[in-house]
């Protein structure tokens, strides 16, 4: 280990460890097909990194594991029924367009997995959100034609207002992850474990996810109480928890928003960054075409943050100076 390297430069290596349990969970739920998709995606990401660096004549940065991390994370965000070319196109987009033009993974302004998923959900919205039922998948072949039974995910049924009550079994299913949804991101237990890992390894990054989850939790509680007429019962608590764990909320909190290269450095800025992501996520969740447009929220916050931070945090002194100068000029004119 070189001494002059900062701790920030090992972010992807550390977070790749956190992906392993998610991959294992996906394999447990969907069989060999899950690991095949992850492998295809990772190999395609590494291959496109090598090709892109060859074209632009840069030094390759495969050893920082960022492209493998991006590929596997993207595969885990896709449904298990997705065809292989979806993973290939997604990871190629992530590396060739969202990462290499900006240099290394540590200088890219956007979270590349989020960018790739956003691109896929625009181009192939049918395949990207076709979540299979968990039980149907055990019998399917690893390679070849896809014969999954399509199920409705929690986010979709919440979107259509079809859920009025939740039983304890359904909540536990959602908690463990055996509900239709993205391959490795349905299990709330696992993602809470990842959050604890982040808390231990990188307490500063944990602030991002904490403020994001706080905003999202407030919204969930508020909306459920509003629907139920402000009654406090067991059912409302279950509904709040189900809403909290639905869709990409936990995935964003654990993986996408904690990405060190794109997030601000100081604690107050991190709190505001997470809260901004939470507000954007709520708006997109309520009013978007897609079932869950969480990746767009992350991209939007990534893009807006540098500009917003300039006005919120850095320009305070200069603003006061401007005002004083202006007042002086006004008085002297009189």
């Amino acid at each position: 280990m070189q001494k002059n390297k900062k701790k920030r430069d090992f972010f992807y290596r550390e977070m790749s460890l956190a992906l392993i349990p998610a991959v294992l969970m996906a394999v447990h739920l969907y069989g060999g097909r899950a690991i095949l998709l992850c492998l295809i995606s990772a190999v395609s990401a590494v291959a496109s990194e090598a090709a892109g660096c060859k074209i632009t004549k840069q030094r390759t940065h495969i050893s920082d594991l960022s492209s493998i991390y991006t590929g596997v994370l993207l595969a885990l965000m896709l449904p298990a029924s997705s065809p292989w070319w979806l993973a290939v196109i997604g990871s190629a987009f992530a590396v060739l367009i969202a990462k290499i033009p900006f240099g290394t993974a540590y200088s890219a302004p956007f979270s590349s997995a989020a960018a790739a998923f956003a691109f896929l959900s625009i181009c192939f919205s049918k395949e990207t959100f076709a979540y299979p039922v968990v039980e149907s998948s055990a019998a399917t072949k690893i390679i070849g034609s896809v014969d999954f039974v399509e199920g409705t995910s929690v986010a979709e049924s919440l979107l259509n207002n079809r859920l009025h009550g939740v039983t304890a079994v359904e909540l536990i299913n959602a908690f463990i992850g055996s509900v239709p949804g993205p391959m490795g991101m349905t299990s709330a237990v696992l993602l809470i474990g990842v959050l604890i890992y982040i808390l231990i390894r990188r307490p500063k990054s944990f602030v991002n996810s904490l403020s994001f989850l706080a905003v999202w939790f407030l919204f969930c509680a508020g909306s459920v109480f509003y629907d139920k007429g402000f009654e406090f019962s067991e059912n409302t608590v279950r509904m709040i928890l189900l809403r909290l764990f639905s869709g990409f909320a936990m995935c964003i909190a654990a993986f996408l928003i904690t990405e060190e290269p794109t997030s601000p450095k100081k604690i107050p800025q991190r709190i505001l960054y997470g809260a901004a992501a939470g507000v954007t996520y709520i708006i997109l969740r309520q009013f978007s075409v897609f079932e869950d447009a969480g990746c767009f929220a992350v991209l939007a916050v990534n893009a807006m943050w540098p500009v917003a931070a300039k006005y919120i945090f850095k320009n305070k002194k200069r603003k006061e100076k401007d005002i004083i100068e202006g007042q002086e000029a006004m008085t002297s004119e009189k």
Partner: protein, 224 residues
């Protein structure tokens, strides 16, 4: 002159003026052809008229006249297109009428044509149109192939294509990659001209800055 205005200081890739139609409407070869014809005719007309007649007119009248000239080119094209090719017409949408008040016309007429002779401004217009139309056509071809799997309306690939490239953000990605490629080419082959790219504008900005709105806002409290 043509190499300087069209290639080295390409209107889209270096000066980045008027990229709205390129990013949004240039989704196929036919669309880009129509846009480039309209663009070059209106730009050449505008610059010639501006340098011939408008040198002593007030600025606020001049800008109106550019819009009228643009509209005079755009509206006949619109009626023709509506009659003969409705697919292209509907594909272009609002961006064809918007060409009537293209920011490119305004910038080049105000900053170049009004201060130079007719011959020079004609050459500037031709050079800019060649650069602009070249990029329009390249972007159109790339987006048609990547987005729809077609070229000039004919299928070339069995797959459907990535429909994201037909959207404005796809156009922006293509323009960004082209700009990077262009800069790399210029840095490699014409290294002596690399400083020209950094300046971005062919035109001198400091001379006419005093007439602009931003200048007035910037210096609102300055003592005289």
């Amino acid at each position: 002159m043509i190499r300087l205005g069209g290639y080295l200081r390409n209107p889209v890739l270096v000066q980045v003026i008027g990229i709205c139609p390129v990013a949004a409407a240039a989704t196929s070869l036919a669309n880009s052809l129509v846009l480039s014809v309209v663009f070059s005719v209106s730009l050449i007309l505008c610059e010639i008229i501006a340098s011939l007649m408008l040198k002593k007119t007030a600025r606020w009248i001049r800008v109106g006249i550019y819009t009228i000239i643009g509209a005079a080119v755009v509206f006949p094209t619109m009626f023709l297109l509506e009659k003969y090719s409705t697919a292209v017409f509907s594909g272009l949408g609002i961006y064809l009428p918007l060409m009537a008040m293209s920011s490119f016309n305004g910038v080049h007429c105000e900053k170049y044509a009004v201060k130079h002779s007719v011959k020079e401004s004609f050459y500037d217009a031709v050079a800019s149109s060649i650069g602009y139309c070249g990029v329009l056509l390249i972007v159109g071809i790339i987006r048609e192939i990547a987005g729809a799997g077609k070229i000039a309306g004919f299928d070339i690939a069995p797959v459907k294509g990535l429909s994201g490239f037909l959207m404005p953000f796809g156009g922006m990605i293509v323009i960004g990659l082209l700009a990077a490629f262009h800069k790399q080419r210029v840095m490699k082959t014409k290294r002596s001209h690399a400083a020209d790219i950094e300046k971005r504008f062919v035109l001198d900005e400091s001379a006419d800055e005093e007439g602009t709105f931003t200048y007035a806002v910037k210096n609102r409290f300055k003592k005289k």
